[in-house]
């Protein structure tokens, strides 16, 4: 039953990939059907689970033994509990909506079948990731989503920037994967098992330093997948992929895998203060960093990408706070999944109407032409900045509340983040939907077809009611408690004090943005006399020329990174790494000069090396 959740989209992907052109005509419907079938199955399992008592809710499905060597057992097993099921619903639910949306969005793309195959593949891999009952299988899913994401980012392969972006995502993610594989091997060696159950039970027995190392390795993995500082740089470039992909993978689901991993491995983090602190610091830095990036972007998708980083920063931070935060990390993850997917789809709809122009300076006054998009985007906007009673308010407010209970500085950081979020989201709203029209001459904005707007409407409804539904109807705190544990924060500030303050900060941010961008006319070309950051941002507008140059000189493409804040150092490190590996390789290649005698010299050198080492050891 659980396996069928994964099986359906996997079958879809296989049929589409191997079916060839024969499936062009109906392939996308099959993909939607498989995804929807998976969702219905998930919903069925969910209802079944609700009907059970708390102890019986966790069910496993043992498929077969993968590796069993003496004491080392790696079952190939799936496992569905309260945490997995909410992810299943999010992935399949949002996934299905985005599948539907893509029918319209990709209508004219010659490679639509392949696109849907990859989407299905992604859904299958992501489901495997959250349904695995051990770290190994999780790793399989983890690699799977990485692969699907890589394939989808470089989907517009004819664009060099897309290819480069795919490569960058791949490299950065490999860094994270190194963390995960090390963590798994360490767990294996320390506990002799890698099942969640086994590790949770045995975690106490590990030495504190080992536990901390495992935790840090897991954090590295989470940083890679969830675009957290210092491995955040790939996410902005990943926006080269088709917009539905950005919505599904780079906003709602895959990038949250890091949060899932941390919450899933809570037994490790519960035991290591150091690892938890590291998680909180990473989360805090990323949430501010992402928000600031968002303020400087004219590209609507990149603005949203910065925002995604920032929101995931909130989740990671919450997850790092321990039992008081796990639940809210997941809660925010779920609400964010809905409203951010909605925002991205809205952005896609706007692009659809604007001839794929992503520059917000060319938008303006779109509320008149694209009423549905305006309405759904607006609801998502209200949700993300945290206006009550929209979804984001409930979850974000809880995180701010918990953060203040742990540390004043962390609390202030979350509060500041909320203000900045309000600022850039208002700026985005204002530049896109308000003001006067700044369209290019040949652009005729129009509303998207129903197949695209309906998913947007559904997600908008989620942005409005999702938070309340989960908090008051679903009682998410106690729903997840058996898996993650839950603790009420001890508090000096009460909700009644904090909520007005938060709202004031949010409104301040929004107002400031409105004054700057809503009331004043927005120049079509960003003014050149302003700060460095604007110049850098403007470079994105001439993406094509720059991308060309970037492709020629891979080392330079990162320098077009937007603000002084998007830590050039880190980006430079990644590209520098790639470049220096290439350079090193080219240099080492010189040794392979084709002369047998030269090879013999190398061998003799090796013999000398061996002899010297052997003698040194003897000394």
């Amino acid at each position: 039953m659980i396996a069928a959740l994964i099986g359906l989209p996997l079958v879809g992907a296989t049929v589409l990939l191997l079916g060839g052109r024969r499936t062009n005509a109906w392939g996308h419907f099959l993909a939607v059907a498989m995804s929807a079938g998976s969702f219905l199955l998930g919903a069925f399992l969910f209802i079944q689970m609700v009907g059970k008592s708390e102890e019986e809710r966790e069910v496993g499905q043992h498929l077969f033994d993968w590796i069993a060597v003496g004491a080392f057992q790696i079952p190939f097993g799936l496992h569905l509990d309260q945490l997995s099921i909410v992810f299943v619903l999010l992935i399949t639910g949002v996934g299905t909506l985005i599948h539907i949306y893509s029918i319209g969005y990709m209508e004219h793309d010659p490679n639509r079948r392949r696109f849907f195959a990859y989407l299905n593949l992604f859904v299958a891999a992501m489901l495997l990731l959250v349904l695995a009952d051990n770290y190994f299988l999780l790793y399989v899913g983890w690699e799977g989503v990485g692969l699907a994401s890589y394939l989808l980012i470089s989907f517009y392969q004819q664009k060099p920037s897309a290819a480069t972006a795919g490569k960058k995502a791949f490299i950065v993610n490999r860094v994270g994967d190194v963390g995960l594989s090390l963590a798994i091997i360490l767990m294996f060696v320390t506990f002799g098992t890698v099942t969640f159950e086994g590790v949770n039970a045995a975690a106490e027995s590990g030495s504190p330093s080992t536990i901390t190392w495992i935790g840090l390795a897991l954090l590295l993995a989470a940083c890679g997948k969830s675009a957290q500082f210092p491995l955040q740089s790939w996410l902005l470039d990943a926006m080269e992929g088709p917009t539905p992909v950005s919505a599904l993978i780079h906003a709602a689901t895959m990038v949250t895998a890091g949060v899932y991993l941390i919450v899933r491995a809570h037994a490790i983090f519960d035991l290591s203060e150091t690892a938890r602190t590291a998680v909180v610091i990473v989360g805090a830095i990323t949430l501010l960093l992402g928000a600031f990036i968002g303020t400087a972007k004219d590209d609507i998708k990149k603005g949203l990408a910065g925002s995604t980083m920032s929101q995931i920063g909130y989740m990671v931070l919450a997850a790092g706070l321990g039992p008081v935060g796990y639940v809210f990390a997941i809660f925010h993850l779920l609400t964010h999944g809905m409203f951010k997917a909605g925002l991205f789809l809205g952005a896609g709809s706007v692009m659809h109407g604007m001839h794929d122009d992503v520059n917000m300076r060319h938008y303006g006054a779109l509320r008149i032409m694209m009423k549905i998009t305006y309405a759904t985007f607006g609801l998502g906007f209200l949700a993300i900045i945290g206006v009550p009673p929209f979804a984001g308010f409930w979850s974000k407010d809880e995180i701010i509340y918990v953060a203040f209970s742990q540390s004043l500085i962390i609390g202030l950081a979350t509060l500041l983040g909320a203000g900045v979020t309000a600022f850039y989201m208002t700026r985005m709203m204002a530049m896109t939907f308000f003001g006067e029209a700044r369209w290019e001459d040949d652009v005729h904005p129009h509303e998207s077809p129903a197949v695209m707007t309906i998913p947007m409407i559904v997600l908008a409804l989620g942005s409005v009611f999702g938070g309340m539904a989960m908090l008051f109807v679903g009682d998410i705190e106690h729903w997840l408690e058996p898996v993650t544990g839950f603790a009420k924060p001890e508090h000096s500030v009460s909700h009644s004090v904090l909520i007005p303050i938060t709202l004031a900060v949010v409104l301040g941010g929004a107002l400031f943005a409105w004054l700057r961008y809503g009331r004043r006319p927005v120049p079509v070309v960003a003014p050149t006399d302003v700060r460095f950051l604007t110049r850098a941002a403007r470079a994105d507008a001439y993406g094509d020329a720059l991308n060309e140059a970037a492709f020629m000189r891979p080392g330079q493409y990162l320098t077009r990174s937007l603000t002084w804040f998007d830590s050039k150092a880190i980006d430079g490190l990644v590209s520098g790494l790639a470049a220096s590996i290439g350079g090193l390789s080219a240099r080492a290649q010189r040794l392979q000069n084709g002369y047998a005698r030269s090879y013999a010299v190398t061998m003799l050198g090796g013999a000398v090396l061996i002899a010297l080492i052997l003698l040194l050891v003897r000394l």
């Binding site: 002369y595 005698r597 030269s598 010299v601 003799l604 050198g605 013999a607 000398v608 010297l612 003698l615």
Partner: protein, 242 residues
């Protein structure tokens, strides 16, 4: 200084001289002769090491067969061909000398630092089997029988390999005397085919003869050497002659 020492120092020195001679000789044939010299001296050392059987085998197999094979191939390649000792790979000679000295130094120093127990001699071991030759025979056909048998595979491989790479079969039936006669009298070449350019400039049979106009005659070469672009151009032969 006993007799053994004398032989060791003399023959040992000669062996090293022979080895060095091989490395520094410009002409390949000289190198081959130097190696043969070194090998004979090693054979002498075998005699002093109570291994007359091996000493004899060394002379028969190495200097007799192996080195002759080398010389034979050298004749094919051209006995005159002398090597330029100028190094063309950058840094090769320096690195080679450096590594070889370090390597040799480490190994020699390492051996020299080992405390040597007095030589046990082979008398007891030989006596156990009733004589030196018997002893070796017992070991070859006893304890090391399997390796010995497997060696035959090696020899077959070698023979087969040499044949595959060197022996050419016919792709057309052999011509009868009648055909040959007809070709000779009725074909384009009434006279015999020109001889290779062995006498002219070079001493290898793969050198084509030069025609009066300075071009080469493909007919002067055996079939096996008539590859595309493999035949030497007149210019290159002149250069080689200089």
């Amino acid at each position: 200084m006993n007799g053994e020492s004398v032989v060791f120092w003399v023959s040992g020195t000669f062996a090293v001289v022979g080895a060095l001679g091989m490395v520094v000789s410009k002409k390949a044939v000289h190198s081959a002769l130097w190696v043969a010299f070194a090998m004979i001296n090693i054979a002498v050392l075998y005699f002093t090491l109570e291994a007359p059987f091996l000493g004899t085998t060394q002379i028969i197999v190495y200097t007799g067969a192996v080195m002759m094979l080398f010389l034979f191939v050298l004749m094919i390649v051209g006995v005159d061909s002398s090597d330029s000792l100028l190094e063309t790979i950058k840094g090769q000679r320096l690195l080679a000398a450096l590594f070889a000295l370090t390597f040799g130094g480490v190994v020699v120093a390492s051996i020299a630092s080992t405390l040597a127990s007095p030589s046990a001699g082979l008398a007891i071991a030989n006596a156990g089997y009733g004589g030196h030759l018997k002893a070796i025979a017992y070991l070859v056909f006893g304890q090391y029988l399997f390796a010995f048998e497997v060696l035959s595979a090696l020899l077959i491989t070698a023979a087969l390999g040499a044949m595959v790479l060197a022996h050419n079969e016919r792709w057309a039936p052999r011509k009868t005397q009648d055909q040959l006669q007809r070709e000779r009298t009725m074909g384009n070449h009434v006279t015999p085919l020109p001889a290779p350019g062995v006498m002219a400039r070079n001493n290898s049979v793969d050198t084509p003869a030069l025609l009066p106009d300075g071009s080469t005659s493909i007919d002067s070469l055996p079939n096996a050497f008539r590859g595309e672009g493999k035949v030497a151009k007149p210019n290159s032969i002149e250069e080689a002659g200089k």
